[in-house]
Amino acid sequence: MSDFQPKIVAFVCTWCTYAGADLAGTSRIKYEPNVKIIRFPCTGRIDYMFLIKAFANGADGVIVSGCHPNDCHYVSGNFHARRRWIVFRELVDFLGMDVNRLCFSWVSAAEGAQWAKIVNSFTEEIRQLGPYKAYMELVKKDKNESVF
């Protein structure tokens, strides 16, 4: 298990977290390379289906991150996103998905170090949890069942 490298997908908003991750880079802060960042205009645009599809395509963990409350570039996108995450997280937990594999955070454009910290700690958590076997089985079954 020690050589397991988790695959982590991060859905981030372009104005805050993406810029924060950029800052981490330009400040030469080293952090875990396991995360693949996907840039969105706003957290409000991050549909819950993206998270599910990330797992379906082999992610072991998913990060969703954007501007702090009251700092949304579009004023209220992150407030809408927060409502959706609250309901979504409870629902998938009820369905038996492992919510420890979902990480939600607020990281501003000035918080390069904070971004590195979140990625590092979440990567470590996922490393401890191991590959997301339950979902992989579901994906495998899907491939076998599908006639297309």
């Binding site: 819950y48 289906m49 599910i52 379906a56 409350p69 009251n70 209220s76 407030f79 809408h80 927060r82 409502r83 959706r84 995450w85 609250i86 309901v87 979504f88 997280r89 409870e90 629902l91 998938v92 937990d93 009820f94 369905l95 038996g96 998905m97 492992d98 919510v99 990480c103 939600f104 955070s105 607020w106 979140i118 339950a134 579901l138 994906v139 079954k141 899907d142 069942e145 599908s146 006639v147 297309f148």
Partner: protein
């Protein structure tokens, strides 16, 4: 029953309404929806505790709307649906008239949404006991046990979409499950597709489900999918203190927000 028939007859004779949507006896003595358009047809109307179907599902169907002003024999679920549909600007007061009967047999006639709101506020709006207990039981299970529970159930889903057709709040003319550019959810009934379909259905009904239970009753595979919706009913009530179908002017839960919505998981 007689009072309903009498009033329905009057309404049809005076041409106040063009059609009465109510319950009648179907094959094998089952209860089914009937659409009465002539006064003499009212004799077929029944109303008792077996009349559980949420008839409000017909309100937005084009075939029904075309007929003209309608009267619906509404149980509590249907009344709540009407309020929620009004909140979503799908129906207007002048388009319909509702008849109902209280548990002690008194005929009720609602002409406006305010009347319905008042009546609903005095009715029990809680989830049914059986389902609440099942939710509690599931919540006590481990994550893996819950996963197994749902996998076992969802593996039977045949993607017939009866749950969607029976749900009065699933009225989109084009459902996300039918989009194929991109294809979000597979057409075939694979386990993963079934899982994604139910997540989608539940998320789209979050804050809108009036816990009528029609989805699970319609499911030919007896999958307790209403539990998923009921879970979100509880979440929305607990976190945002909103219950769908209690008021004709509720802001859409998932497209509104409070700047201090509480959570404990965002880092």
């Amino acid at each position: 029953m007689d009072s309903i028939r009498k009033r329905a007859r009057e309404l049809l004779e005076k041409n106040t309404v063009k059609v009465v949507i109510g319950y009648g006896v179907g094959s094998d003595n089952t209860v089914r929806a009937i659409f009465v358009r002539r006064p003499e047809g009212v004799e077929e109307l029944i109303f008792d505790e077996t009349c559980v179907q949420n008839l409000a599902v017909y309100l937005l169907k084009n075939e029904i709307k075309q007929i003209g002003k309608l009267c619906i024999i509404a149980n509590i679920s249907a009344l709540r649906t009407i309020l929620q549909l009004a909140s979503e600007h799908q129906i207007h007061e002048e388009e319909l008239l509702c008849l109902s009967v209280t548990p002690n047999g008194e005929l009720l006639e609602f002409t406006g949404f305010k009347d319905i709101e008042n009546y609903i506020s005095s009715c029990n709006r809680d989830l049914p006991d059986k389902e609440s207990e099942m939710i509690k039981k599931l919540e006590k299970m481990s994550v893996d046990e819950r996963w197994q529970f749902w996998m076992n159930h969802l593996s039977r889903c045949i993607k017939c979409y009866a749950c969607r057709s029976a749900c009065p709040m699933c009225y989109c003319t084009r459902c996300q499950v039918e989009y194929n550019q991109p294809q979000w959810i597979t057409v075939e009934a694979t386990l993963m597709g079934n899982f994604e379909w139910q997540i989608t259905r539940t998320m789209h009904l979050a804050g809108r489900c009036v816990n009528c239970g029609e989805c699970a009753r319609a499911c030919p595979e007896d999958i307790p999918i209403n539990l998923l919706n009921y879970k979100t009913v509880l979440t929305v009530k607990e976190k945002y203190n909103i219950s769908a179908g209690t008021n004709a002017n509720i802001d859409s839960v998932m497209s509104s927000f409070e700047s201090d919505d509480k959570e404990n998981f965002i880092r």
